[in-house]
Subunit: 149 residues, 2 copies
């Protein structure tokens, strides 16, 4: 007979990265958001372009609606038809997608990026992270943990 042991200590770090990943940290959610950025708003289009199974997609769409990332809107009354649109929170994910896109291009894929964006400045767009306060591009070693969390 074994004594009841105290539950193993588990104290995952309290962190907003983890918070974010709880909403979009699965295999399909960010691809759904990507499709909405590309203005593909319909269930069937999203299913095809992401490759997600339809049932899983239905579940994910509900979850994203619950979390306020997307909104479901009726665009036809008879027959009833719905489409999905990004909310402001959803649109605010563009930095995440753009940095992921660059990383995927530079470190995963070898060869050309099949999808490219042009910036209004006239050049191909590539994401670079800057400090909002001073505007400078972030360089390695410039960040330190704020001692008072």
């Amino acid at each position: 007979m074994r004594m009841p042991t105290a539950p193993a200590e588990k104290a995952p770090r309290d962190c907003t990265i983890a918070d974010a990943l709880e909403v979009v940290g699965d295999r399909w959610s960010l691809l759904v958001v990507r499709e909405l950025f590309y203005a593909q708003r319909r269930f069937t289009e999203i299913a095809r372009n992401t490759g997600a199974p339809r049932d899983i997609l239905a579940t994910r769409l509900r979850k994203l609606v619950e979390h306020g990332v997307i909104a479901r809107e009726q665009y036809s009354r008879r027959p009833q038809r719905y489409e999905y649109r990004l909310t402001e929170a959803g649109r605010a994910l563009s930095p995440v997608l753009l940095t992921l896109k660059r990383w995927g291009h530079e470190y995963v894929r070898d060869g050309e990026d099949p999808v490219r964006f042009d910036h209004s400045c006239g050049h191909e767009f590539m994401a670079e992270v800057h400090c909002t306060a001073c505007g400078d591009a972030l360089e390695p070693g410039q960040l330190t943990l704020d001692p008072k969390g």
Copy 2:
């Protein structure tokens, strides 16, 4: 009896975001990378701080090593002990983590961010995406799809 139907058309979009998510698009991988950024290099520490089950963590670590995001290094011969370090590809994920962190703070968590960074400019760091070519901060509506993919 049912006729053999042609396979349903599935042509997920060819996309480097999808490529990136195939490597780090699960519930734990980016949290592992986060821990390595925080210089927590040991299996047990990573397990505790992420909350990932140990077997899943072992699998993820192998996968990340295979994809060149992290490297496994022996730091003690007797007893044999290993630790993990970010490769250059792993370090290049910082923009993704920093943009996710900001999003999680602004749109998921309500309340203070428990982990903050200071930039070398003296202010608290907040990630902002800029165009590498012109250096300007990205604003809504400035991106267009390059017609020749």
